[in-house]
Symmetry: none
């Protein structure tokens, strides 16, 4: 047996008091659900979706593997819920920033606001990038429905705020803009964070065109998009 077989101790779990009590109340159950998501989130930030196993997440959460399946039907649904949580977190952040923005806002200011919100959320953009290809593939209709409904609500809400900040947007265009920005984030995430072998290849000077700077491109394209909308 090789050394690699020994389970390396998990550093990330900062020895929380083992919360073995049973979650009988609704509140406790939600709390535990959150604890699982929190553990998954911790691990996801140092690992990739594929490399993370339910076993590892259970250990991090100090729970038995089977317990995870009490709260999430599949691994994908767990990460779908995690994505929703991070999405909500992102919307919250953006909403807060929008609230203190001068109205009418400059497209450039808005773009900076959004770029900044993404800059500090690399885990979030990684989740978005695998949402359609991995997470939604093995999730139940029910879980997806919850996800999309919540997402819709947040898109509409933040969309409305965008419409207030940018007078050239008419009703409904805020939400659509958010969808377009989502596409942008996904695409740029793929290009800006390639596999190690790719990184190595494009470190050659001649190929530096391929070194996509997420932040820079996002601001660039988003600004063009907004100005395009403005100048209609």
């Amino acid at each position: 047996m090789t050394a690699g077989h020994l389970k390396s101790s998990y550093m990330t779990n900062s020895q929380q008091s083992p919360l073995r009590k049973r979650a009988r109340q609704q509140g406790q159950k939600l709390e535990r659900r959150e604890a699982i998501l929190s553990s998954a989130w911790n691990l996801f930030q140092q690992s990739s979706y594929e490399a993370l196993t339910m076993d590892t997440i259970a250990r991090e959460a100090q729970l038995a593997k089977g317990t995870l399946f009490l709260y999430f039907r599949t691994k994908e649904e767990l990460f779908l819920a995690l994505t929703l949580k991070q999405l909500t977190n992102w919307f919250d952040g953006v909403d807060q920033q929008l609230a203190v923005l001068l109205v009418p806002a400059e497209p450039a200011s808005l773009v900076e606001l959004l770029a900044a919100s993404l800059r500090e959320r690399s885990g979030f953009t990684r989740l978005l990038a695998i949402l359609a290809t991995a997470l939604e593939q093995n999730s139940s209709v029910e879980a997806i429905l919850v996800f999309k409904q919540e997402l819709l609500e947040r898109m509409l809400r933040t969309g409305k705020l965008l419409e207030q900040a940018l007078p050239f947007l008419s009703a409904g265009e805020g939400a659509r803009l958010l969808m377009q920005l989502q596409a942008l984030v996904i695409g740029l995430q793929h290009l800006a964070h390639p596999a190690p072998a790719v990184q190595q290849v494009i470190s050659v000077p001649a190929l530096q065109v391929f070194q996509v700077d997420f932040d820079r491109e996002f601001r660039n394209i988003a600004l063009a998009l907004l100005k395009g909308l403005e100048k209609r």
Copy 2:
């Protein structure tokens, strides 16, 4: 062997004469390589990357499984080469169209040209969408280098044509525009072609916001992007 272990014959292979002879000459080797790519491409259009096995591709190509690995180090490299081929094909198509475009071209005309080129290449956009997450993940530095170099060349060439067609683009901006459009294609592909369960969910009227029309959104955003560049 007696039992029913034999997979039913594959309908897609239109009974090419079994080309079992050895490919000794360089030309023959390239030919066989192309045959493999062609088989993979045929199957990919009726299937998904995950569902396609090397075994199936080999059978379609009338070759043994092991032979595939003489031409491509991994499954990913095979599809990387396939992506390059389709990318080249797309560039060729676009270049041809650009050649007959009036100069200076309207951004709108250009966008229509590009949208049309993508509209008839759904397999190609699906490949782009998994390029970073799947194909480049298990490819060798060598294969990626070849891929990126060829891609660079084509991007520069077509980029230059774009710069000629759109005078507001300065040197180098054509290639960069292509990269940005690539991000757009990837993101929209993810949103426009979700998993079946998602399709079911968003067929509910209230959630139709999520029914992303690739063509429409591509034209929309690409046009805004171009106009944004124009109006600088």
Copy 3:
């Protein structure tokens, strides 16, 4: 909990008033035990033993999963008890029929009587078929003792009735005949109700020899057996 984790309500339970009160009295306990068996029986008739979960049975019985284990040590013991109940039911039916039989009875009449009793009890014969391989495998000595003792009593009683109806049976041979018929039922049940794939295969004309008609074969063999005993 928000998400769609709740199983859709079970249609089979015809909305009995939820009897959640505690069963303190012995009578109440027996009543609840019967309720559980009744629920299991309802479900078993539309499902298979493997497909039935303790959770489903509990829900059908309007009880918590854990409560089932207060009444039955294992899933197997639950079904063992169910088998006993159905066995008793079958013996009752046969006894009744035997009571109105002319004595001495024709072997043929008796066989018809038995065949008819089985014809309307397909759930019962399915239970018999898994008794030894599934149910008795994970049952406690205590539960098996109860089962066998009760079974013995009923076999002796009905055996005696058989001996009265069929004068050529000497003392003790009635019970033994019942055991032999049990073996017959088990074997024929296996052959007559094969897996779907087998049914498909033997629907081919050439293989129709394998389409075993339970009723026909039971009558055939049982009659031969009785006549064999008669002609000694």
Copy 4:
């Protein structure tokens, strides 16, 4: 880690020279297939179907687990093939005995012949007993077809021999008799070889009625059946 975790070395594999060579020829492949069946058979005789894992069988056969699936699509198909082999073996034995039987034969002689053939084949009767409930449940239509066709052929052949030995059997009745005997074997196997807990319970004198003697009952019922047929 407890001691039970250590893989106990397998005694049954009598250190055959590791046959690692690749089976390229059809003959070699059949040989290897036989080797796998042989390993499974060895292990099955000291274990139960459920307790046997594909992993264990692979080890016994000195092959990788995956290799097993090259020869058999599922664990069930492997055992289905094993059952066919043992069935063939049994038919061969019976045919040989029938060949030296005086014609016309006494039903009693024939029954003794059959009983003797089963007496020395306890593994075979155990396989028959799980054929319908386990093996045929997860086998492909193809595998079942092969199984049933071969079985049909053997039943017809041996059935014909029976018809020659027992003149009171008309054409086709030999095969049907074999089917009836199969049902008998299955049922008696279940009753005669119960779970350990059952054996313990029925060792109590009062319950010795349940101690079914396979051989005795088989001869008893089979004889009655034959005589019943004779005296028609």
